[in-house]
Amino acid sequence: MADVQLQLSHVQVNVAVGEEVRPLLTDISLDVAPGDFVTVLGNNGAGKSTLFNAITGDKPLAGGTITLAGTEISRMAPEKRARLIARVFQDPKMGTAPRMSVAENLALATRRGQRLTLGSRKLRQQLPEFQKLAAQTGNGLDKALDKPTEQLSGGQRQALSLLMATMRQPELLLLDEHTAALDPHTSASIMALTEQIVAREKLTCLMITHQLEDALKYGNRLIVLDAGRIVADYDRAAKAKLTQADLLQYFG
């Protein structure tokens, strides 16, 4: 295993506003070790989502390079990067196909990043495995395998999105405020499930959150973005000493 799983080197992302070109990310350099669980904090507009979009390829780089698991991915098409990177979105509607059943969504996720062929989707053979997988969410998802996902609750959908993102072990898991749209109770249970899966699969993970409590509680490293730069970076030891009051100074 390499010492660095994800390396961002002098990453720059710009946006054109009319004639003017404005920087969204300015010279971001970041090394993330394998198995690191990094929480990402920052004001609205600090560049957190842009950072994720740069990593997934949804926003092109104006400069710098991104290397993941030893492969430079800076110029790779987003669909190609999907083999390496899994993402869970804030909006529960974004992560699943609404008219397809839970099982069909899971079956698609087993082929993430792979070439789709005219071979059978093998739905029936995979059902027992899906049943077991869905049961660990503890929210009744395993009883809803035949249901279209549009009939699921927000919590069930996010749990499903999380399972889909992790069932084929990704080199990098990106969690984009994935509990922000849920009620506090559901949010807590999805966070618990997240921590359990990330630890079990030893995933390298970045998680954007606005909950200072979650940012402190989860993960072994914390970074703060402001105006397109990383303005603070706390490792495990430093993070353990942090309080919410310390973090509030970054939000003014």
Binding site: A82, T96, R99, A107, L108, R112
Partner: protein, 299 residues
């Protein structure tokens, strides 16, 4: 009686049009206007090929390929040229009008005294009009069976997901643009095939025979959904074919009521508009859900 048989036959042959439109309008969730050019394109290619001495079966397959080519053009204009797909379809439809005139060399080309697909000894031995029922039933059965098989493959599931949620599809490594081109090619291929078969059944191809066919296709889809209610995706393909047959009977009844054939298009348009627009009708016929499926979820 024979009018009813004719309606079934025509309904089955137009059923392919409904199924082709279903792929883009329902699964990929956008209105594909190419259809209005593709249908006469398939007809023009099939009829011209036959008048040039090509075997009717080969000519029918050429109609299918012609339709796929039209769909490919719309798909590339939309995904590579970044033209909104509605406009891309209109551009191809408009261009095809001239191309159809070139293909036929005139506005209307007859198959008089030419052998076509319906001129086999077996079909000739059947009661009047039932030849189109036999051909339509066979072609629809084969096409629907192949499509159901396709939709249950990995690629087919990726195709459905790309229409359902492009963002999610991309995050799983599926390129929605490729799926869009695939859907347009498959859909328009079937519509070209439908045009080729209808032209042989009618005995001629006409450059204006595409006007309003998108309404015919939509009518088949919506009648199928309204009459048969909640179904699986595979069942909905069959329901669309049956919807197309029912639509022919609706037209038959309208003609029996004394309306002129010239009025059929305005009647079809008004009925479809009412079914979609009036809330009371909509909720009673459960179109609301169906329509939401058709026009939302486009990421």
């Amino acid at each position: 009686m024979s009018l009813g048989v004719s309606a079934i036959g025509q309904g089955l042959l137009y059923g392919l049009l409904g199924v082709g439109l279903f792929l883009t309008f329902r699964i990929l969730d956008f209105p594909d206007m190419t259809v209005e050019g593709t249908f006469p394109f398939g007809a023009a290619v099939a009829v011209s090929a036959i008048t040039h001495g090509i075997h009717p079966l080969v000519a029918t397959l050429l109609a299918l390929l012609a339709g796929m080519l039209a769909g490919l053009t719309t798909g590339l204009l939309s995904t590579k040229g970044h033209i909104p797909v509605l406009l891309a379809g209109i551009l191809v439809m408009t261009g095809l009008f001239s191309i159809n005139l070139r293909v036929m060399g005139r506005a209307n080309l007859s198959l008089l005294n030419q052998r076509n697909l319906f001129d086999t000894p077996f079909l000739k031995s059947l009661p009047v009009y039932s030849d189109s029922v036999v051909v339509g039933a066979i072609v629809c059965a084969v096409v629907v069976a192949l499509l159901i098989g396709f939709l249950n493959t990995q690629l087919g599931q990726g195709f459905i997901a790309a229409g359902d949620n492009p963002t999610m599809a991309r995050s799983l490594g599926i390129n929605p643009a490729h799926q869009q081109v695939l859907g347009l090619m498959l859909g328009n291929g079937l519509i070209g095939l439908s045009g080729g078969l209808i032209a042989q059944n009618n005995g001629y191809a006409d450059v204006n025979m595409g006007i309003g066919v998108i309404v015919i296709g939509l009518a088949a889809i919506i009648i199928g959904e309204v009459v048969f209610g909640q179904l699986s995706l595979s069942q909905r393909l069959i329901a669309t074919v049956l919807g197309s047959v029912l639509y022919r009977f609706v037209l038959l009844i309208v003609l029996k009521l004394g309306f002129a054939p010239d009025d059929l298009k305005v009647i079809s348009a008004v009925v479809l508009a009412i079914a979609i627009a009036v809330p009371q009708v909509e909720s009673r016929l459960r179109i609301r859900r169906v329509l939401r499926n058709g026009v939302t979820n486009n990421g």
